[in-house]
């Protein structure tokens, strides 16, 4: 398969990248790992006149501790995030999400920013990041804005990013002292798979009751969605298997799945129930 022709730009700084995106706007697409964009170009779904490659902008590839949390450069690959000791120790659900993306080969190219910007409802990065309360840093030639990751998604393939915007980083606050989180993905295969459903759960305890609960469902709505009834059922209660069954039932009711070639809506709803319960149990077990 041949790629269409394009002008190729390789800025070395975010400033230059933003300037280019500002000048070129709709005629340009940012290129990071290429595992989504180049595929779409090969299939003739997209044919941008310009590609602005972000791969030589060093700060985008940095992962660092910031305010006791983490700052993930937008250009970090799924493999780098999955293998990072800082991520595995403190944000295990994020390491899980990163490690289930695509295949080991894809993970060595695909970036967190690409997975967020492509806004697929079944994507692996959004649920655990949203469960951890992540924010994204968006930059363009006029400046920077920071927003909750949840607010980025508008629909399948659609985000609030304008044609000149670039994702610069993902910010994660330190998880609460007594908290745990988990990410589970269900696919027909164990690898190279787009989720039938996926679930991320985050629980924060104070004394013996749940203070914080975030449950994020993937592939059952146009965007990764929170499960508000499930969260409501959990907050203020003492964790127990029976409570988790109740919350899982509520999550299944919150979900808005459709029938498609991967699964029926009914099966998806069923699996949300199962995965939510399991994710909650694992999240609880991870609380020290």
């Amino acid at each position: 398969m041949l790629l269409p022709r394009f002008e190729f730009h390789e800025p070395r700084t975010m400033k230059d990248a933003c300037r280019l995106m500002g000048e070129l706007g709709e005629k340009a697409r940012p290129l990071a790992g290429g595992t989504d964009l180049l595929v779409n170009m090969k299939k003739k779904i997209l044919a941008p006149d310009h590609l602005v490659s972000l791969g030589r902008i060093e700060p985008l590839g940095k992962l660092r501790t910031e305010n006791n949390g983490l700052r993930l450069g937008a250009g970090l690959t799924a493999a780098e995030i999955a293998e990072s000791p800082k991520v595995k120790d403190r944000f295990p659900a994020l390491a899980e999400g990163a490690s289930r993306l695509g295949s080991p080969l894809i993970r060595n190219l695909a970036t967190v920013a690409g997975n967020l910007a492509s806004a697929r409802p079944a994507a692996d990065f959004p649920p655990p990041l949203i469960a951890y309360g992540a924010r994204v840093v968006v930059r363009n030639a006029s400046g920077e804005r920071i927003l909750p990751l949840e607010d980025l998604f508008q629909g399948p393939g659609a985000t609030t990013l304008g044609p000149e915007d670039l994702l610069e980083a993902v910010q994660l606050d330190a998880p609460e002292e007594r908290s745990g989180a988990a990410y589970l993905k269900l696919g027909v295969r164990q690898t190279l798979e787009i989720s039938i459903v996926n679930v991320a759960a985050y629980l924060g305890l104070e004394d013996h009751t749940i203070q914080t609960a975030r449950i994020v469902l993937g592939a059952v709505a146009p965007i990764p969605m929170r499960a508000p009834s499930a969260e409501k059922a959990l907050i203020g209660e003492a964790p127990s298997p029976a409570l988790f069954v109740k919350a899982a039932e509520a999550a299944a009711a919150d979900a808005k799945p459709i029938d498609d070639f991967r699964a029926s809506a009914a099966y998806r709803r069923d699996m949300i129930r199962t995965l939510t319960r399991r994710a909650l149990e694992t999240a609880l077990a991870r609380i020290a």
Binding site: M1, P104, I106, L109
Partner: protein
């Protein structure tokens, strides 16, 4: 759209003029005649185009040659030396892990990356390491055995 790039491929440095829309896979096969790297699906699903880019296995069909400028590439051709086959290649032969051979380059390079970091992988770790490489012939069993055996043999 043509750019000048410098690549180190199998320890040799190449200065090349390439169009921006040439993939690394096409560069290796058509411009350099290194046809050990295969093209199967061309969209990152089959792994037959696997090469090591700065030591990490990637789908070369999804890397632009211009993105690889300044980087190090290892293809299957880079494993054999004057002394003979790389232990991994020999293990594949010895264990009957090659039928049509189309997946083999990618399997060996994914296996090499695994063994470089973990000389004694268990079965699950080995299967995960090759989970981006599809084989239509062998059913994977002998490939897994060959990789694990090669790890053991280089330890002895």
């Amino acid at each position: 759209m043509t750019q000048l790039i410098t690549l180190t491929i199998n320890d040799r440095t190449y200065d090349l003029a390439v169009p921006a829309n040439r993939t690394l896979a096409d560069l290796l096969r058509y411009d350099l005649g290194l046809t050990g790297t295969k093209k199967g699906c061309e969209v990152g699903d089959c792994g037959s185009c696997t090469v090591l880019l700065d030591g990490r296995p990637v789908n070369s069909c999804l890397v632009l040659a211009v993105q690889a400028s300044g980087k190090t590439v290892t293809t299957i051709e880079g494993l054999e030396t004057d002394e003979g086959l790389h232990p991994l290649q020999q293990a594949f032969v010895d264990h009957g892990a090659i039928q049509c051979g189309f997946c083999t380059s990618g399997m060996i390079l994914s296996g090499k990356h695994l063994l470089d970091g973990n000389p004694s992988p268990d079965e699950a770790e080995t299967r995960i390491a090759i989970s981006g490489n599809l084989c239509r012939c062998t059913g994977y069993q002998k490939i897994v055995e060959a990789i694990r055996a090669a790890g053991k043999s280089t330890q002895e």
